[in-house]
């Protein structure tokens, strides 16, 4: 991890926390505002720690882009939760269980940038 990526990551971390400080929920309910602020902080903490030990510069770049994407999307839609996506067509195993490799590739390809840190469940 180079010095410039390190400072970029730390400034992203501060940016997320500053956003969480003044976050207002779209619904206007105070309980929702509190929940969403806690969620933003918790999500930032877990995801940054999960990706802390990465060394490949390409992967680091995708993770930084993921953080920025989530920040932009969250601020634009006033919704901190990640946007759900559809499965790609033919992306889940058939009844007979063949073509698993193809489906995994399809799903990996269709995964949006802001969901890269999340595993498939």
């Amino acid at each position: 991890m180079t010095a410039c990526t390190r400072s970029k990551v730390l400034s992203l971390y501060t940016r997320v926390f500053r956003v969480a400080r003044t976050w207002q929920a779209q619904s206007g309910v105070k309980a929702d505002t509190e929940t969403e602020r806690k969620y933003i902080k918790q999500e930032a903490r877990t995801l940054f720690r999960q990706n802390q030990q990465l060394t490949d510069p390409e992967v680091i770049k995708t993770r930084i882009a993921e953080c920025e994407a989530r920040l932009d999307i969250g601020l634009h839609y006033s919704n901190p939760y990640p946007r759900a996506t559809y499965l790609p067509p033919l992306g889940l195993a058939t009844l007979k269980g063949r073509n698993l490799g193809v489906q995994q590739r399809l799903r990996k390809q269709a995964k949006p940038i802001y969901l890269q840190s999340h595993d498939e469940t």
């Binding site: 390190r6 400072s7 730390l10 501060t14 926390f17 400080r21 720690r49 802390q52």
Partner: protein
């Protein structure tokens, strides 16, 4: 912190109103001066909140201008507040914490934790610390020095 501000405001509000009471005693020479003489003492005995409501009935104008502000910062108070906030952080062991303990070397935190600590300091003292200067603050002593520099606290 909000309780301290409220106390300060009430104290500064109640002081001229006690003056008002004694002035009323001189102006109105009524048949029951004993009640008026007792009133400042009884106001002093009551809680600050009832004192506040008691004064609103007297419709004489306020004789001095009042400004609300926080109590002035000293190096001691800054240090106390910084150590208090650090003790509240769950990844720090309060026994091991001293003014000169380095976050990374002595306390075993990493840079993400240090960012969170600086955020907590920003929330406590109410002003923003830019990133370039925030990543250099590695011990509580340095944080206290930085805040004292920014807030012009000398001793």
């Amino acid at each position: 912190m909000a309780a301290r501000v409220l106390q300060q405001c009430v104290r500064s509000f109640a002081r001229p109103s006690l003056r008002l009471c004694t002035r009323n005693v001189a102006v109105r020479a009524t048949a029951t001066p004993a009640v008026f003489i007792h009133r400042p003492l009884s106001f002093a005995a009551e809680s600050p909140r009832t004192r506040l409501f008691g004064q609103s009935r007297i419709s004489v104008g306020v004789f001095c201008r009042q400004y609300g502000d926080l109590p002035p910062l000293t190096l001691e108070t800054i240090k106390e507040r910084v150590m208090y906030v650090l003790k509240l952080y769950d990844k720090i062991n309060p026994e091991k914490l001293q003014t000169s303990s380095h976050f990374m070397k002595d306390l075993g935190l990493d840079s993400l934790d240090q960012v969170e600590i600086i955020m907590a300091m920003e929330d406590e003292f109410g002003f923003e610390i830019p990133d370039a200067e925030a990543e250099k603050l590695m011990t509580p002593e340095e944080i206290v020095q930085y805040i004292a520099d920014k807030k012009d606290v000398y001793e």
